[in-house]
């Protein structure tokens, strides 16, 4: 136990020192340890004690179609915030990681003739468990690891059109069970460590809110006729995809993540069509934390 405490103290000192080499070491450590089974005798360096959290902000383009509001595509700019948290668990011999993801985004859009505006926004939270079946040499490629697993996601939001009469807005709410996979590849260029990753997730089944084809919100909320607004979905009626390609690299004393996110959020229910295509460039700040509980419990 004494050794463990010393490790923690030493590590903390190193972080405070902010030496470039330590940041690099941490970056390497985080992706090496989960799969190589290193440092099993140390509390501080146990894989399930390390939490990676990333706060990112991004900007990009958005293309939204919601036929409840308009048959036209609206295009504009999207702003997005995202928070990711990932750590390994003790499940299945430490081969399972858990990911929490929270995101909030809003976009301002215009029709092709620029005569009307739409505002779209969504917030979602997801929880995913990822299994790493192999070590770091997937498909014979050294330092490549792949994790995959289920993800549950809940989102709420809406689209508002600034000139419609009794259909000015359409609410969005969904609960998706998704399949997701993360591939990570670490490399170094002239001793400069770099970690490339790509996460892809697609909904398989779920539930989605949608009014019926031409059902007014007055009928739903004014008169209380809720029938038909909660719809089961599959990957056929909700052929959606989110793909985020990221590169983590050290910059001075910090770890930075830059990423490109493509999201195709689509829904076809009640004879209504919805799509939201986003292309977002994001910059994030990565922190690796040691997760301690009680008196440095194992």
């Amino acid at each position: 136990m004494l050794q463990s405490k010393n490790n923690i103290i030493n590590n903390r000192k190193n972080f405070r020192g902010g030496e470039h080499v330590n940041v690099c070491l941490l970056l390497m450590l985080f992706w090496l340890m989960p799969f190589a089974g290193m440092a099993q005798d140390s509390v501080a360096l146990k894989p399930n004690k390390i939490v990676e959290s990333v706060f990112s902000a991004g900007i990009g383009s958005s293309n939204v179609l919601d036929t409840y509001l308009s048959p036209l595509n609206y295009k504009g700019t999207e702003l997005r915030l995202q928070y990711d948290r990932f750590r390994l668990t003790k499940m299945m011999g430490g081969k399972v990681g858990v990911q929490y993801q929270y995101s909030l985004f809003a976009s301002n859009l215009k029709n092709g003739a620029k005569t009307a505006e739409e505002w779209a926004g969504l917030a979602y939270a997801s929880l995913g468990y990822f299994y790493n079946a192999n070590s770091q040499n997937v498909f014979g490629i050294k330092n490549l690891s792949v994790m995959f697993g289920p993800q549950a996601e809940f989102g709420v939001g809406g689209v508002y059109n600034d000139r419609n009469s009794n259909n000015p807005a359409n609410a969005k709410a969904y609960l998706d069970l998704k399949a997701s996979a993360i591939a990570k590849y670490k490399l170094s260029i002239k001793n400069y460590p770099l970690c490339l990753s790509n996460q892809i997730s697609v909904p398989l089944v779920g539930l989605a809110f949608s009014p019926e084809y031409q059902q007014s919100y007055y009928e739903i909320f004014g008169l209380g006729y809720y029938g038909g607004i909660v719809n089961p979905t599959t990957f056929v009626s909700r052929p959606s995809l989110r793909n985020q390609f990221s590169a983590d690299f050290p910059l001075k004393n910090s770890l930075i993540r830059v990423s490109y996110l493509f999201e195709a959020d689509q829904l076809k229910v009640n004879n209504l069509k919805f799509h939201s295509y986003s292309n977002i460039f994001m910059v994030g700040y990565v922190k690796h934390l040691f997760r301690l509980r009680g008196k440095y419990k194992n």
Partner: protein, 337 residues
């Protein structure tokens, strides 16, 4: 192998499943076709109007398509599109462009107005009260007069209780909704709720469930719910004319199921379809009836509601400063008829 097949099927489904709507180009023909299609897939009175006025939307397409060419100006295109929309004979159908609003107001323009603001001023005088847009006063013969010129602005429960309290001494009240072109249906219901003492079925509503002209949900009942606030228990007369439209048409429908209420004046203008909006590639906005509403007997009220007693404004009365409809209502409430 099975896994590969499943993955292949899954990836193919994803790749070929862009959720898109057919986009028309921004030419005159593209806008014409887009407008015709918006109405074809969304307008809710095709079946009813085919029966009543012989409307055939496919024939309408052919009739107006020959007038479209890609060299026409915006103004010319707008005129043809408005002509096409006027075939629907619906006040809730409008085309909005930067330079004009296309409309069909034949539901009142072809009829006597039965209302004169100048004459009405003589009844209101200068000492009338205003509560959230409702103008009211006590007339000389102890009849209360309430004028609601729009349901667009919210009317609070407190306002309604105050108005009815102030008029509680009256022998009866006149609720004048002439020239009221509508507004929020919830506001009109809130007023009507002051005139019933029990939950009352007043109509039905439904909505389209698909693109077909006959794709509708089942009819859902609509009720008046007695208000917790002050409710009117004496006689009341509702004055109507052809400009009572949309939410006001619904209000008149609701009031005719209330006890002690008599509808006096002209037939209302109608407009029983809750309007939705859409748009064209050119950016012009189009409004159309989307959710039809019916009376308690499940009959259409799109072309208006007959009053209990027809009374027209007498022009000689108007010249003398008398409002024939108000005078008739005063006599009715005063027991002089």
């Amino acid at each position: 192998m099975k896994l590969k097949a499943i993955l292949t099927f899954f990836v193919c489904t994803m790749l070929f499943s862009c959720v898109e709507e057919e986009q028309y180009n921004n030419s005159a023909k593209g806008n014409f076709e887009a407008l015709w299609k918006v109405l074809d897939e969304h307008y809710c009175f095709f079946d009813y109007k085919k029966e009543v006025i012989g409307l055939d939307w496919n024939e309408v397409h052919d009739k107006y398509a020959v007038r479209i060419n890609n060299n026409m100006t915006n103004a010319q295109l707008f005129e043809v599109l408005c002509d096409m929309l006027s075939e629907l004979q619906d006040g809730h159908v409008n085309l909005y462009a930067a330079h004009d609003v296309g409309r069909n107001w034949s539901w009142y323009e072809s009829y006597p107005s039965n209302f004169s603001a100048d004459v009405q001023k003589k009844y209101l005088g200068r000492d009338y009260m205003i509560a959230s847009g409702i103008k009211y006063k006590v007339l000389d013969d102890n009849i209360g007069y309430i004028f609601i010129e729009s349901f667009s602005d919210g009317i609070g429960d407190g306002n309604l209780s105050q108005v009815l309290n102030d008029l509680a001494i009256c022998n009866g009240i006149i609720v004048d909704v002439r020239d009221n072109g509508g507004g929020n249906i919830t506001t009109s219901q809130k007023v009507a709720n002051r005139f019933c003492n029990e939950k009352k079925l007043v109509g039905y509503i439904c909505h389209k469930t698909g693109k077909g002209h006959s794709d509708f949900s089942e009819l859902k009942p609509m009720y008046l719910e007695p208000s917790d606030g002050v409710r009117w228990q004496k006689k009341a007369v509702v004055l109507t004319n052809r400009q009572c439209y949309s939410a006001t048409n619904s209000f008149v429908n609701e009031m005719r199921y209330c006890p002690n209420v008599t509808i006096v004046g002209d037939k209302t203008g109608g407009g029983s379809g809750l309007p939705f909006s859409s748009e064209l590639p050119k950016g012009w906005s189009v409004r159309f009836s989307a959710c039809p509403m019916f009376d308690a007997e499940k009959k259409q009220i799109e072309f208006g509601i007959e009053p209990d007693i027809y009374v027209d404004m007498d022009s000689s009365d108007a010249l003398k400063g008398y409002d024939t409809l108000i005078e008739y209502a005063r006599k009715l409430l005063g027991g002089k008829l």
